[in-house]
Symmetry: C2
Subunit: 477 residues, 2 copies
């Protein structure tokens, strides 16, 4: 995408804004040279790009407040950015916006094992939160695939999940409190390190709000004791439907594995060619992992294996050692990278009721044929969070558009069976126009009210989450 040529008025406004930002931040924390702002032109949804007016890297709540106050006074939109790993374009700039990156907000502020929480600045990466407590045998539960890179700020913005969220819940279940800066620079505290909230639970609505309501600078997170042990079992099946039925039966039986991961044949083949994990080349694989003491693990796996056997598995491999466990997970963890080696792909993110898995997988197969694009399925099956990967060729004219149309149809199918447009990636720009397939006009209006009052000038993370049509009059105002 070409950068628009800036005119004099824009240049002068930009110069003034940059000068004001420089007055409240260290010199290297204000990035405005066009060659450098390009680093912020997109996030992990790389099909869309636009360099921002400037980018700032504040290091404290006070600096964030100062930045927002200036932008508020100047009427400049602000796009908060975690580590830029959003697959839905949640941190895509507009040309007139300032990117507020949280990379320097990475301190651990407090660890409290007695009360089992950690308080961090939100630019800290997900994995380094666990890193700060693991020597005491604790961990932070939500584990997005991008956990090495992704920031807690983005996890909160998107209410991120991960493979182990079946047991431990997603971000909202592990977030106790935040410090948030509103667009006008006001600092508010929501929640705390305690149970429940007095009055309205604004913490709940802030979690998953995709940077629409404020910039979260500090977070108090629940930490958990590491389980004594964990053991996965690998199951291969003849068809997606049978694997889906097996997932449904495990859930129905009331066992609670920490993870049930699903891969279909295209995904198995790609990851096997890439990672050589020794997966059987069957139609569908499940990795089911349980945690606890050896006795607990034996008991839970016993029940799970019995359920699996009722579905005539072509493979049933219980890990007997840490090495075997690592090998079972290796292929799954390499799946996205493996797909990227052989194809361009678009990673979808929808949730469905677990019992609809077989139906949805069959329909995705049919749609894939209709559109002439392969779809590889790899996802958190236990909680119904699907991540279909649509394979396409970015260099082939029309392929991206067909891919997006197929993606939209798949997500509409998720909604039709009683699911949701997004599990953990957020709406971003990718799905804003699909919101109307999930929500009535009244439902969306109720959301817009809340956006209105937190950000009346509609300056925060513009043109995302809500259908453009529904917000046009507000943004113009």
């Amino acid at each position: 995408m070409q950068m628009p040529t800036p005119n004099a008025a824009v240049l002068s406004k930009k110069a003034r804004i940059v000068e004001r930002l420089q007055s409240v931040l260290p010199e290297d924390a204000v990035i405005h040279d066009p060659t450098e702002t390009r680093a912020y032109e997109c996030d992990a949804l790389t099909a869309y790009k636009c360099p921002p007016l400037a980018a700032v890297l504040p290091a404290s709540t006070e600096e964030v407040a100062a930045v927002l106050k200036i932008c508020h006074e100047e009427g400049v939109p602000v796009v908060p950015r975690g580590s830029g790993t959003s697959l839905a374009g949640g941190a895509l700039p507009t040309a007139d916006s300032v990117i507020l990156g949280v990379a320097r907000l990475n301190a651990v502020l407090e660890t409290d094992y007695d009360n089992r929480f950690i308080r961090v600045q939100t630019g800290r990466t997900n994995l380094s939160v666990t890193g700060a407590v693991e020597e005491n045998d604790f961990f932070y539960a939500p584990d997005p695939s991008s956990q090495l890179a992704c920031a807690i700020a983005g996890n909160i913005g998107m209410n991120s999940g991960g493979a182990h969220c079946l047991k431990y819940g997603v971000t909202t279940n592990n977030l106790l409190g935040v410090t948030m800066v509103l667009m006008d620079g006001t600092v508010v505290e929501l929640g705390g390190a305690h149970l429940d909230a007095g009055g309205l639970d604004l913490l709940g609505v802030v979690c998953g709000s995709e940077g629409q309501l404020g910039v979260v600078t500090e977070a108090t997170l629940r930490i958990l004791r590491k389980p004594e042990g964990a053991r996965p079992v690998l199951m291969g099946f003849d068809s997606n439907e049978v694997a889906g039925a097996c997932v449904s039966d495990i859930i129905k039986a009331g066992v609670l594995p920490v993870a049930i991961e699903f891969m279909d044949r295209p995904c198995i083949e790609a990851s096997e060619a890439f990672a050589h994990a020794g997966y059987p080349l069957c139609e569908a694989l499940l990795i089911v992992e349980v945690e606890g003491s050896p006795a607990e693990i034996d008991e839970q796996l016993g029940l799970i294996l019995q359920i699996a056997r009722n579905h005539n598995p072509v493979e049933l491999r219980e890990s007997k050692s840490p090495e075997e466990s690592a090998k079972i997970w290796l292929g799954r963890k390499s799946a996205f990278g493996a797909m990227g080696q052989i194809n361009d792909y678009m990673c979808l993110d929808g949730t469905i009721p677990v019992s609809s898995l077989p139906l949805v997988l069959r329909r995705i197969g049919e749609m894939s044929k209709e559109y002439g694009l392969d779809v590889a399925n790899v996802f958190h099956a236990g909680d119904g969070n699907m991540h279909p990967l649509i394979l396409f060729d970015a260099n082939k004219p029309g392929d991206l558009e067909r891919c997006e149309a197929l993606g939209a149809d798949i997500l509409k199918l998720c909604v039709e069976v009683g699911g949701c447009l997004t599990g953990e990636h957020g709406v971003g720009i990718e799905k804003r126009d699909l919101m109307t397939s999930q929500f009535t006009a009244e439902d969306i209006e109720a959301q817009l009210w809340v956006k209105d009052v937190f950000d009346p000038a509609w300056l925060l993370n513009p043109a995302k989450v809500f259908p453009l049509g529904a917000t046009e009059s507000r943004r113009a105002a």
Copy 2:
């Protein structure tokens, strides 16, 4: 409290409103005779009473919408009411308001074991939700003490917890979706039966909103498989501080019992005299319960008993049979009733960081002496949800006022140590003026914004939750 004598203008407005309500509801669903509206003059905070203008008992979302539309047009305040078990005055009427009772909204709409949820109308009682699924070995986890009577509507309004919420979370962790009617009669759907929400998570802010944002008529609730077994252990200690330290150590060790209940000497003595559960008459008792298979139970209790022994317990009694388990729980479950037999009491509801238990218990003891009022402590210690009972004599002039002053000081102490004014009872009228000790003006203003947009005329559940001073101009407008 005396009913004010109504004047002619009020009478004529009342007559018109009753007539309009009768036009959309069956005759017996509109209660307007002053002898009958008295049944709705208070909830379980009986110190405050005021009969409403009328009470209505709609049986469907459509009827609720029709009622709210009429009240909206007439500018009549509406007080939503579950089963009236609120201890914070959450369902206290004003003289000009219509009580909207949900008692007839009690149907089970859908049970889905494959996806582990139940959908009910919100007038259904908490225990009868479990009743609807228990023959299939499922249950609904949050278990307030009032679970036999309290309605799901109230549970959602107050984000209720219960003894077993240490493991399973409170209402917000078990609520998947709701149908809610806004004050103008608009019906919205929030959440669903699936993971996550697109856009802003309004479900989170509605849960615990104490009837300020809308009337929730239907709810989709997560149901869980009943554990194979459960076993409590009773522990007696020499002092509150030692018992508190033991709770802290159990939590720090990372074991997750389903319940850790705490009773101090005044409470032990009262409940023992009432229920004869065979409790030792020591300074502090803990009941710690774990769940799972026999092997899991043995392992968890082994660790817990070891921690307890480090604190020199005067009693350590592990249940060996269902009968012994029932006896261990008997005293705790009778505690509130037992206290009511010998005293008037006010039941507080605050949360604190678990590690502050010893400090807070010591300070409560000191305050109790300063005020000359006994305080019995019985509470969910595992998650820091305290329920101090202040004993007073309702017939003694000044005692209630001193009791309320002591209660306010105790709750402020909870906030000071990093806790919250309310764990599960809500703010209601009881704690509205204490909100300023927990929240800054900016924090409260952010909550008021959300109230503003959902209920611009401030007709829903008036004069509750927020400090009257902060809302005066809004209510007058």
